[in-house]
Symmetry: D2
Subunit: 207 residues, 4 copies
Amino acid sequence: MAVRTPDPDPNEQPDDAEDFAAVGAAGFGGVPGGSTNPAWLSDVELTEIRRRLPMLYVEAVPVRTDGTGSVTQVGILLRATPVGEITRTIVSGRVRYGETVRDALFRHLENDLGPMAFPLLPPSPVPFTVAEYFPIPGVSAYHDDRQHAVSLAFVVPVTGTCEPRQDALEVTWMTPQEAASDALAAEMEGGRGTLVRHALASVGALR
Amino acid sequence: MAVRTPDPDPNEQPDDAEDFAAVGAAGFGGVPGGSTNPAWLSDVELTEIRRRLPMLYVEAVPVRTDGTGSVTQVGILLRATPVGEITRTIVSGRVRYGETVRDALFRHLENDLGPMAFPLLPPSPVPFTVAEYFPIPGVSAYHDDRQHAVSLAFVVPVTGTCEPRQDALEVTWMTPQEAASDALAAEMEGGRGTLVRHALASVGALR
Amino acid sequence: MAVRTPDPDPNEQPDDAEDFAAVGAAGFGGVPGGSTNPAWLSDVELTEIRRRLPMLYVEAVPVRTDGTGSVTQVGILLRATPVGEITRTIVSGRVRYGETVRDALFRHLENDLGPMAFPLLPPSPVPFTVAEYFPIPGVSAYHDDRQHAVSLAFVVPVTGTCEPRQDALEVTWMTPQEAASDALAAEMEGGRGTLVRHALASVGALR
Amino acid sequence: MAVRTPDPDPNEQPDDAEDFAAVGAAGFGGVPGGSTNPAWLSDVELTEIRRRLPMLYVEAVPVRTDGTGSVTQVGILLRATPVGEITRTIVSGRVRYGETVRDALFRHLENDLGPMAFPLLPPSPVPFTVAEYFPIPGVSAYHDDRQHAVSLAFVVPVTGTCEPRQDALEVTWMTPQEAASDALAAEMEGGRGTLVRHALASVGALR
């Protein structure tokens, strides 16, 4: 069974309902740390809140750069969904209560790329774009069945080795041209092909 | 009694618990539109959620510009708090479920500056900064007792006449130098003096 | 005969050698204001300097926006070159000695779109990208036979009526999708199709 | 005698007239490489051009960051002027004909901070601000007696050891608070205290 958070601890809050189910089955739901932390959300609660409030997300487009900072490659994740589909995506996840945007970004980069990726988070807190995901397709370029999510998206150079954990099966490094292609966009979930193009434009690497 | 939303209608969701109390007393809580809209939050629910999830906000620093777009004046709001204190602030408010960031920004500008302000929303969805408000002072430059809020902050030229509604008593137009002063920063709530300085820096008007 | 500066005055400095030739033939070259202003450049001097120094340019992608600032249309110029070719381009021109970037931007907008375009220059001095034009194709996405030019590029909403002057024959308003198309990019001079795509990405209007 | 370019070679173009004088005395002026490269400018030519065209510059505010990219320290240069004054400044220099902005930034970082500074140039070509230096004080926040210069300014994390070369005597690492102080601004040349504040605001480190 796919579990996004393979190393749960009492301070760990799963991001998704399916994660909670797995973790909860392991008895996590009953630990005092969980039940006394008001920021902790059960899967039922999270599902309900997702229909009532915009959820804050961070996303990162991992890149390789040359010695002068020019983007040479873009890292696209190959991910297996719970129902066994293979889709392409980027680093993405929720900001928790009490967590800084920067810490959330670092946490999700480590979760999705592994502990040896050595991402270089940008000094600026300003995203290259704000992506708005709506449950109804067509409201914006981005779509998420589960929720209304607003995502702060960053380009993040990584200098180490990516060893995706959890449900990210693989990181594929592509040229900017491949990453901007219609073929890739068609494979990406939730309209993130558009997000990758915006990322490339923000670093001057979109033709 | 101060009510932030003086013209409630069934589709209107108050942003604050105190607003809801006032509106609820007028019978709003019982209308079918309210109870069947899953995105509608009672004051109790909103108070609880504020301790469990980061809330998404938009903020705007209203400015006057000259013919070539240079910022000449900054609009600072004088606001009366529910307990009768006078504080200074900027345009600020929550993004609702299903609402775009742009629509939320427009709604709060109209709420706080009146319908004749004629704000010119920027074409770009990228904020000049992302301000993170934490309930515990000192985590960042920004502080909000009630919640963990993450705010996308924009500089917005206004071309019309500002007639603040609701609890915003007055808009004071200041020079960039006055707006960046320590004296003003000391009067501003939640650390927004810092936000105003960042806004001025983003338009090249901070010395 | 095409003259880019149809209303010369002693303080007016033509941007191009061919302009100077036309203006010079009208006696402009001989006025005292011209000859005593050290910032004034003859066509021979300008041509020579263009091979020795990077030239500073400003460029603007004119857009129409809706009431909340979303870009709905992009203005592309149809221009006749001195040799009679028709090409597509955007607002573009040199920054003069002693002139602010903002004033240069306003001047070229007025030159290319006419006095009734009513452009809304952005409060921020930060361009959405920096386009580097090199005389040798392939060094970057941008190319200019005449010179090494570095251009600060802005998205500028225009609210009035565009009546192109000089050698700009027409402004064509396009949807963001048309403006981002390969067909348009192929018609644009110097690689500016890429610049238009970056502009669209910066305002969240590129798919 | 202070020489900004201690290791001249035929492809090397000094940035300042005084540099050229020193280099020229060493015989540089006479090499064939210099005289045949049309982009090469003698000191007399450079001085003259500086009164006739805006010069394109790049500037960098060196910073130290923590593991999540937050700026913890700012590097300010202590520089001796040709007349023996000590002033404070940042990394700054001209973009040459045919050189990319990125290469110019890298060259000046290496020149001013030494070869072991290991600067991390940003993937994005967009500066945090555009600083306009005019020969007449008061036109903008920035002033340069010699010229009209337009500078693209970047925040650049450095990860190695700074060993200033040439006329930069020392790099002083300061907290963001010290770097934003009035005391420091008063010591900085050309109004660069303002530039440092804008840099700090762009990374969320100005209070």
